[in-house]
């Protein structure tokens, strides 16, 4: 089942899960995704070894979407 997770102090938390894209659970996941963006998180979809893509909308076909915090030079 596709998941939206957020990396946080617990390791990571599952924010939303959904089956298909035509159900209320996907709509809830989209809302949750937007809330995470508003909170300053960045959405990333891992695309196999060495590849990842930033997303600004919850992609319907992704199995896993990870919310991360911005990085900066130290």
């Amino acid at each position: 089942m596709p998941r939206l997770i957020r990396m946080d102090h617990t390791g990571h938390s599952t924010v939303a899960q959904w089956r298909g894209t035509d159900g209320v659970d996907f709509e809830a996941a989209v809302e949750a995704f937007r809330r995470e963006l508003d909170a300053g998180y960045i959405g990333v979809v891992p695309e196999g070894e060495g590849r990842a893509a930033q997303v600004t909308e919850l992609p319907a076909g992704a199995d896993l979407v990870i919310m991360r915090r911005p990085i900066a030079g130290g």
Binding site: I5, G11, E47, I66
Partner: protein, 220 residues
């Protein structure tokens, strides 16, 4: 490494004045470090020799000069390697969960290496990266040089593996953008960096060098 056409790391907006990093710009940065190191070593060494030739009784002063010539590059290397030393809260309760997610992002060999050394090996277009909790080492093709970058998330409560995963995902999204956002800490010979790395992390450097040697040398 990047996926969509011209992916741009959103964090670049915070450093808009920086020129986007590239293989050429990193090579030029490495050359600057080489020049700086030579300028630190040669004058002190020459002074030591010159003083001894002119007046053998000046030997203690000459020794002090040689110590300076040795210690200045070592201090720079120590500072550079500091970017990948484990630091910050360990958050031991959450670390196993974070370790699991990071392991899912890595291949089998990189996962094992990361668990042993704390550094995640990642092959990129600029070279081989070793990603730590608050920074990364880049070994350009050839594996003779190591570039040290200081970069991380500001969320100190995150477990160490989550901090690595943050950097890994950013690196995979936009490698050149990642190298642009990161602060450059040091660039120098791999042997100099190795001596300053904690022993537990040295196998990661060796693995990174071996990987980088398989790429065509870039002259860096």
């Amino acid at each position: 490494m990047a996926t969509a056409a011209e992916p741009v790391l959103p964090e670049l907006a915070a450093v808009a004045w920086r020129k986007r990093a590239s293989r050429d710009s990193l090579r030029a940065w490495g050359r600057l470090w080489t020049v700086w190191t030579v300028m630190s070593v040669v004058p002190f060494s020459a002074a030591a020799v010159g003083l001894f030739v002119l007046e053998p009784l000046s030997l203690p002063v000459g020794i002090a000069c040689l110590v300076h010539a040795w210690i200045i590059p070592e201090l720079y290397a120590y500072r550079g390697v500091g970017v990948v030393r484990p630091k910050g809260p360990r958050n031991a309760r959450a670390e196993p969960v974070a370790q699991g997610l990071l392991g899912d992002l890595l291949g089998h060999e990189a996962r094992e290496l990361q668990r042993r050394t704390g550094l995640a090996l990642e092959r990129g277009a600029l070279g081989v990266w070793l990603v730590g909790e608050a920074g990364a080492l880049l070994l350009p093709p050839g594996g003779r040089r190591v570039n040290c970058f200081c970069v991380g998330t500001r969320e100190r409560e995150l477990p160490p593996s989550d901090r690595i995963a943050h950097l890994l995902l950013a690196l995979r999204t936009d490698e050149e953008g990642f190298a642009t956002v990161a602060n450059k800490a040091f660039s120098g010979a791999a042997w100099r960096v190795r001596r300053r790395l904690p022993r537990t992390q040295r196998p990661a450097l060796e693995a990174g060098r071996a990987e980088a040697r398989t790429s065509a040398p870039s002259g860096t």
